[in-house]
């Protein structure tokens, strides 16, 4: 197999890792206003992904870096062509990162509300836009003879792409609800499980519609297998969520995302960015780096990726327990203004960190 094909597959693997892992992070963030009625519930939700969301996001940076290294033309065309969409995703990811880390740093209701909004918006925007972007890749875009995207921003908002956005949003919502049912306990777990049961059928319909459209209009025969697997795993998701088999539901949901990536990348191959005028398409061959660069990067990836999988798996093992509301400590964040404590008096953690979850703040 050509090295460039191996790298095409490896980039598909990186996107799978990203979408499966950050997919549930997005889902948890998107569901904050739905499942997190009390602050403590929202904290349970956020803490199910607390130790892992940052590591999950690195799969995206790696996919970006690997695309740059292995397919510079793909990287250049896609990110300059999908400029405004990517800008929105970046802005969303930025506010999401700081909201995670800074939310608990200040013990103040308004502060928490704002952080929650940052998390909600920061999760919804990329969840929709990644779907729009990938659907446009599958559909093909307008490239000129030098492989530059010349279609403009609004051409990206076609019905197929918008349905793709709805599809990823629903898939991540379901995936996130299932993850919450698996990783939280008590009230949140119950409501997340029930919601997953209601979301899964809707996701099945929308995702099936998009996949069949993609398959018939833009793909090749063998990816029917991916469509069938996606459909089967979505049916399994519906059944397992109804039966409250949370572990199996998560597996089924993850398989759905895997099958979607297989469908997307399978329909692209051997193109990486198909053009309306196929002579202008960027392909695995004409977009790739030199053989030497691909060889070097193959060695690097072969050595490092197994370690990444190993220590990330270990993290999930360390934090394997469900998060219950009783596990959530009182707010340890400081108040905005430092309470008047005489300097030199033993500073107690209580100073500036008093406060119940619900009660009004002094």
């Amino acid at each position: 197999m050509e090295l460039s094909t191996i790298w095409f597959l490896l980039i598909a693997v990186l996107w799978t890792g990203y979408l499966v892992l950050e997919g549930f992070d997005f889902g948890v963030g998107m569901l904050l206003p739905v499942l997190g009625r009390r602050d403590k519930d929202r904290r349970v939700m956020i803490n199910t992904i607390g130790p892992v969301w940052d590591g999950n996001e690195v799969w995206l940076l790696t996919a970006g870096g690997a695309t740059f290294a292995a397919f510079p033309e793909w990287y250049a065309t896609m990110f300059s062509g999908f400029y405004l969409a990517l800008l929105l995703i970046l802005l969303a990811l930025i506010v999401r990162v700081v909201a995670f880390e800074w939310r608990g740093k200040i013990n103040d209701d308004a502060w928490r509300r704002r952080s929650d909004w940052a998390l909600i918006i920061g999760s919804w925007v990329p969840a929709v836009l990644w779907g729009v972007a990938f659907a446009n890749l599958v559909r093909g875009v307008e490239l000129d003879a030098s492989h530059q995207y010349v279609g403009g921003f609004f051409a990206l908002l076609n019905p197929f792409a918008l349905l793709g956005g709805a599809m990823t949003a629903l898939v991540f919502l379901t995936h996130g609800a299932i993850f919450l049912a698996l990783k939280s306990g008590g009230d949140v777990r119950d409501r997340a499980g029930a919601l997953a049961g209601r979301l899964a059928p809707v996701t099945l319909v929308v995702a099936a519609a998009w996949a069949v459209w993609a398959q018939i209009a833009y793909s090749v025969t063998w990816t029917w297998a991916a469509v069938v697997v996606a459909a089967a795993s979505l049916v399994a998701t519906v059944l397992t969520t109804r039966a409250r088999r949370e572990g199996w539901a998560f597996v089924a949901s993850a398989v759905t995302i895997l099958a979607a990536v297989v469908l997307i990348f399978g329909s692209l191959y051997p193109d990486v960015v198909p053009a309306f005028d196929t002579a202008n398409s960027l392909t695995v061959t004409n977009a790739s780096s030199s053989h030497y660069t691909l060889t070097v990067m193959t060695w690097v990836a072969a050595v490092l990726v197994p370690f990444v999988l190993l220590y990330q798996a270990w993290t999930y093992w360390v934090f394997r327990k469900r998060v219950f509301a009783t596990h959530i400590p009182d707010h340890v964040g400081l108040t905005f203004v430092r309470p008047a404590v005489p300097v030199g008096a033993p500073a107690t953690p209580a100073a500036g960190s008093v406060g119940s979850d619900e009660g009004p703040q002094a």
Partner: protein, 496 residues
């Protein structure tokens, strides 16, 4: 403004901003790891309290560094797609390696450290913060390898068929002499930043406590932190000076135009003086530069260790570049910015060193000073050390203009691999789109800067906590068996 100028402004804004937080992260993470190591080794609770105190400041800073770093991975493709096409074969590799080798370790083990206080055995938990510290420094290696290649391409050939640069030797790229000079300089500068940060905040608290009568706490908790910070400042400060000197010598060889511009040196001369103060017009006209104070021969000495060595001036270098790379291009970087950023980098760094000297004197023989000017000096040194890093990078990057990939001038250098900044910008991205993104990033970054500062300030003036959930070594909950289900309902030691 053209899309080119806007794209350059955007890159400048997002990158200088990102690098406010990066040096502190690179330097402070190992210092926090060191504090935690002292605690694990000595079981002295002072070090645990300091670990928690500086750990919180580190995390507030880490978050915004990560957030603004995401942009860096993608904006080459967004605004500089022609650059990306030309160099991706070479430049993409260190970026991908950085993500695989450093970012994954950094993010995963940071999560383990933050949430693992009561879930991991003490030594494994300590190993997690060391893993983060090593990874942040490793990340600097890879990104500087990428930058050094732009400053001085090696291990590469120009493929005339594709019109692109192609990698032929990764070993040369990862051992680029430019990288070997830039890496120690950047890392020691990061340690000076973190040392100043620790010393300044601890010094401010020490003085405050002494003045309010709590000398015991000042002596017990803050004085050791001041000394730790000062030792790091001094050791890394010597390193930053030596490596800076090394780097300057290399730059006279690799990028003589950058150094001539930094000196405002127009005509080639034997025994070039080092300009302390110069004025000029803002038209980037070399003839308008007037040197008011100079040290004779010092520039020649800095470049070659010889006070009377010949140094090429801007005019001659412009003529040489025109002959070699074509006319119609101004090969001279912005003179006032290059000149002043170089001096401000050195000046700000040297200014911050005053804190270290003062601290050493005032704390001699076990003294615990309560001198007000010392506390003020500490506060002044903080912004200075951050500015020194910013000016250093502004100098490095503005000084190589108009190139984005600077030609390698050495006889053994690579042929044909160079790129003017103007040729690297995305051709399909309109000025309107760049304006939209620049305004969006600038506004968001402005808001985040305010919040970052408020949080850092708020946590700094809170001081070290006595004990947080009583995390003393005597507290059995700190080394309970993670699988012990007896207290499965106990609150987590840390949660968002």
């Amino acid at each position: 403004m053209e899309a080119l100028d806007l794209a350059r402004w955007q890159f400048g804004v997002t990158t200088v901003y990102h690098f406010i937080f990066v040096p502190l992260t690179i330097g402070l993470t190992p210092l926090v790891a060191l504090m935690q190591t002292f605690w694990v080794r000595t079981k002295n609770e002072r070090w645990l309290r300091l670990t928690k105190f500086f750990g919180k400041l580190m995390l507030i800073n880490f978050a915004i560094g990560i957030a603004t770093g995401i942009v860096q991975e993608f904006q080459f493709g967004m605004n500089w797609s022609e650059y990306s096409r030309f160099v991706g074969d070479v430049f993409g590799a260190p970026l991908a390696m950085e993500a695989l080798a450093a970012f994954f370790v950094e993010s995963t083990f940071l999560g383990l450290w933050i949430f693992g206080w009561d879930k991991l055995p003490k030594r494994i938990h300590l190993a997690c913060i060391w893993a983060v510290a090593i990874a942040t420094n490793l990340s600097a290696f890879f990104i500087l390898a990428a930058n050094s290649w732009m400053q001085h391409p090696v291990g590469t050939v120009f493929n005339a068929q594709t019109g692109r640069a192609e990698m032929v030797d990764i070993g040369k790229i990862l051992s680029n002499p430019t990288l070997m000079a830039a890496l120690p300089h950047t890392l020691t500068a990061a340690f000076v930043t973190a040392g100043t940060f620790v010393a300044a905040i601890a010094a401010w608290w020490m003085v405050r406590l002494v003045r309010s009568g709590d000398v015991a706490k000042a002596r017990d908790v803050y004085r050791p932190a001041v000394l730790l910070g000062v030792v790091v400042m001094l050791v890394a400060g010597v390193g930053v000076s030596l490596t800076g000197d090394q780097q300057a010598k290399l730059m006279f060889d690799q990028q003589p135009m950058k150094m001539a511009a930094a000196e405002g040196l127009c005509a080639s001369v034997d025994g070039a003086s080092f300009s302390i103060l110069a004025i000029g017009d803002l038209n980037n006209d070399c003839a308008g530069v007037k040197h008011l104070i100079s040290v004779p021969g010092l520039t020649s000495f800095l470049a070659t260790n010889n006070f009377s060595a010949p140094i090429k001036g801007v005019d001659e270098l412009q003529a040489l570049a025109t002959a070699k790379y074509g006319d119609g291009v101004d090969y001279v970087p912005n003179l006032p910015i290059t000149y002043w950023s170089f001096r401000l980098m050195i000046g700000m760094g040297a200014g911050a060193a005053a804190l270290a000297i003062a601290a050493l004197w005032l704390t001699r023989k076990g003294r615990v000073p309560g001198t007000v000017w010392f506390s003020r000096l500490a506060l002044v040194s903080l912004p200075m050390i951050f500015l020194a890093s910013s000016f250093g990078w502004i100098f490095t990057e503005m000084g190589r203009q108009p190139w984005v990939v600077v030609p390698n001038p050495n006889p053994s250098g690579v042929d044909g691999v160079w790129l003017l900044t103007a040729r690297g910008v995305s051709t399909v991205v309109s000025p309107t789109m760049v304006i939209i993104s620049m305004v969006a990033f600038t506004l968001l970054y402005g808001v985040l800067a305010v919040v970052w500062f408020k949080l850092m300030h708020r946590y700094a003036i809170e001081g070290v906590a006595a004990t947080e959930h009583d995390p003393s070594p005597d507290n059995p909950t700190n080394h309970r068996d993670p699988d012990d289900t007896a207290d499965a309902d106990a609150p987590l030691s840390f949660a968002y």
